[in-house]
């Protein structure tokens, strides 16, 4: 599967710090931290980058994504230094996409200016809802007004290329309330919108609270209504949960769905590099001390055999609106797509999938039950 695209690499940097952990979130982050910890973490990040520098050969990076956690709590200065240090070790393409996640309440003029100067050209902001009541129930630290002004500041001092996150299937959320959130978010004129259904993870405070959430049918209706409404408002859907103005797809996230390589830097970061998937340990202190003392910080590693690569490809491509191109599949894997095609065709009559011209893809209705469809297609 070598082709010229593979000359480029994506970098993901995980900043596992938050002022407060959101009640629904089970990603790795820590809340108690001080400047010295942040400094040591930065030092470790930079040292980890060195692992990918071999002699004089340098990788060319075309996407850099700094996510969390809450990268904005890391501070503009550290983020700028981080980006500079990455630039010393890798070549950046001229049109590199550099995204930083920012929380509305930790965004200010200074931060945006620093980010812009450091080369950041895309901001992802977790707005989640335009209802303050729902923001509160999610355990978010901002209200919608704060989000509105953060977007304005971003536009003025950093970039227009803004992505906003939204959540649905929330406690007490109605269809009308949800569509209002969608419209309110669109009125902030983002270039990109991600919509995620709330998933209750057992270990989270929200799950412990046993909230009454809308049932699956309602959530499915919300999803499909958002797809329609966003379409009307000029946003194309290019992945299950992602929508954008023409030309504003997330280049970094698209890597994941295209099985292109990326390296993850930081604690609890995931990499797909050299046909291996691996992740670093979910422990900031262990990560820092491991990196600085030269020990391995790998948590899980998984060599992806060809058969599994096929499975991953199908699983990931079916998340996208472009779906699977039969000829691309056969070129990549030198194996016929027929048996998978047969299974996918079963879903055409019920409008869960579309097939035509050698392209197989799920419809929005199909996306929403894609776990079942993928399991069926892959026979798992």
């Amino acid at each position: 599967m070598r082709n010229n695209i593979d000359r480029y690499l994506g970098i993901y940097v995980h900043i596992p710090f938050c002022k407060r952990k959101c009640d629904y979130c089970d990603f790795y982050s820590v809340c108690g931290f001080d400047d010295s910890l942040l400094d040591r973490y930065l030092k470790a990040l930079i040292k980890q980058l060195d692992d990918y520098v071999v002699g004089n050969s340098r990788y060319t990076v075309d996407t850099l994504y700094i996510g969390g956690g809450t990268p904005s709590v890391f501070g503009g200065k550290r983020l700028a230094q981080l980006i500079k240090e990455i630039g010393k070790r890798f070549d950046f393409t001229p049109d590199i996409e550099i995204t930083v996640e920012v929380n509305p309440e930790s965004a200010d003029k200074k931060l945006f200016r620093q980010l812009k100067r450091a080369g950041v050209n895309r901001i992802s902001m977790g707005v989640q809802s335009s209802s303050d009541e729902q923001l509160l129930s999610l355990g978010r630290l901002h209200d919608f007004k704060t989000a509105e002004s953060a977007v304005l500041l971003c536009r003025e001092y950093c970039t227009d290329n803004i992505s906003l996150d939204l959540m649905y299937g929330l406690e007490g959320q109605t269809m009308d309330g949800w569509i209002r959130s969608v419209e309110d978010i669109v009125s902030l004129e983002p270039a990109h919108i991600s919509c995620y259904a709330l998933t209750l993870e057992e270990s989270t405070p929200m799950a412990q609270r046993r909230p009454v959430l809308p049932d699956d049918d309602t959530v499915a209706d919300m999803y499909l209504a958002a797809v329609d409404r966003l379409g009307e408002l000029g946003f194309e859907q290019y992945e299950i949960s992602n929508f954008c103005r023409r030309g504003y797809r997330s280049a970094h996230n698209s890597r994941y769905w295209d099985l292109r390589p990326y390296i993850g830097i930081g604690a609890a970061a995931h990499s797909f590099f050299g046909d291996k998937r691996y992740s670093t340990i979910r422990d900031v202190d262990g990560y820092i001390s491991g990196i600085l003392s030269g020990e391995s910080v790998i948590d899980e590693a998984d060599e992806i055999a060809v058969k599994n690569r096929i499975g991953e490809y199908i699983m990931l491509r079916l998340r996208t609106i472009d779906g699977i191109d039969e000829s691309d599949f056969e070129r990549r894997f030198r194996t016929p797509f027929d048996s998978y095609a047969e299974k996918l065709k079963k879903y055409v009559p019920t409008a869960h999938a579309e097939c035509g011209g050698g392209i197989y893809r799920l419809t929005p209705k199909g996306f929403f039950i894609s776990n079942t469809i993928i399991c069926d297609v892959l026979d798992i």
Partner: protein
Amino acid sequence: MMDQSKIRNFSIIAHIDHGKSTLADRLLEKCEAVSQREMTSQLLDNMDLEKERGITIKARAVRLDYKAQDGETYELNLIDTPGHVDFNYEVSRSLAACEGAVLVVDAAQGVEAQTLANTYLALDNNLEILPVFNKIDLPAADPQKAKQEVEDIIGLPAMDAPEISAKQGINIEAVLEDVVANVPAPDGDPNAPLKALIFDSQYDPYVGVIVYFRVMDGTIRPGMKVKMMASGACYDVLECGYLRPLGIEPCEELSAGEVGYFTASIKTVKDTSVGDTITEAARPAAEALPGYRPSQSMVYCGVYTEDGSKYPDLRDALEKLQLNDASLVFEPESSAALGFGFRCGFLGMLHMEVIQERLEREFNLDLITTLPSVIYEVDKTDGTLVLVDNPHNYPDPAHIAEAREPYAKVSIISPPDYVGNIMPMCQERRGEFKDMQYLDTHLVELHYRMPLNEIIYDFFDALKARTKGYASLDYSMDEYRASDLVKVDLLLNGEQVDALSFIAHREKAYGRARRICEKLKENIPRQMFEVPVQAAIGGKVIARETVKAMRKDVLAKCYGGDITRKKKLLEKQKEGKKKMRSLGTVQMPTEAFMAVLRLDEE
């Protein structure tokens, strides 16, 4: 040759749980037939299942030597009988081999339905009946009252009958003395042509079938060529002898009045069925003993293995059980829903349950069984008669001239307080009230004619539930009656699920159809599309539910490139997935099937 006047052949009869098997054990002990050490509890019931359920399923017999108070040694042949209505015919044949019966009555419970039913069976066979009042050690025991009941209800002198506790071993000798004194010695001419009654047989892998019989006339000895008068099968007797508690004891010959066994390398119990008459081929008896009836299945159901590949194991298991149980019949059938299996016929519900449990336990099979069905008679318009034991074979209504279903005579004995609960329940099950008699002031007997179909599902359990366990039930086959029967088919997504079809009276069909549809809806997981669940008679839908289409499944976001997590989630989903059966286009977990088939237990 044994002196006939010293032989006593008797049975013990009782209502279930009144202590029949325990008394049998005590009698064996008393005659020192078995040492205390060898005495695992209740020797006569030698299947695990029987011990657990407290029911004697297969009849057994033992010969005991008892030294009576008069100084003489008597040969006592105790013939045990199965204690459930399903096995009435077997009971009657065991009784026919005796001259007397010990009627065990629980001194605390008094007379109950099977006490009466068994007494009548014994009287039919002209037996001398000796009441015995058991469980006098219980605080609730009231032997006087129980005796009065026996005198009033059954009309047997009971005041001088032994009061015993089989459990505690109290007064056991009195029972033996009673037997010696009051059970008539057998008569019969040892020199007449051989006439012996088969009351049981058992397959042994080494010697073939061991046939248990009572000699009525003549003498049987090894080397004799014998003939089964009903089946016509002929055998050379290899060995004959006595039945001892711990095995068989060969002897030279058995003559009129004696009880014993013979072997002849017989391969299957089918040819030596209970009730058949053994005679000498060279000098046959003029006529067979009365009362022979080929065994007749009353209840049928489909038996399948959960894992379809175990079909050959199921076949082997059924064949093995059949070696010992001529009343078990089966033939292969296949179902689109359940795969390959067998249509099995049973004497009744208990027999069915016992066989199912033995298949599961002794042969380690996981079974799926379809709803039990009785045999319906259908006259078709072309003049032919069809017997239907499987709803699948029910003729098209357009070709039916008349359909008939079997009715049973039902007798229920209960304290009068519960009559108000019993009557509506019988009516609901289409019972036809015949009469009600007060047996005494605190016991009443109700007689009904009721469709067998209504009895086989859950009638006994429902009766117990509505009478706090006080009522007792007995039933026997009556006749076929014309009935407004319909066959109801279940359809999933428009496709018929053969294993769920059932035959019912038109009035009952709707309610049942509705409940099955509801149950299916509850138990079928959402599919990719909406699944209509329908019940239909002919082309007409009489009940409908809808399993809504699946709209959403767990949708983990691929965050920060964590693909491994996503893969794990899918794997986990797979683990959680239950084993599904494909019914046409619809996937259904086996549990859903079971839930529907267990509908009547709720």
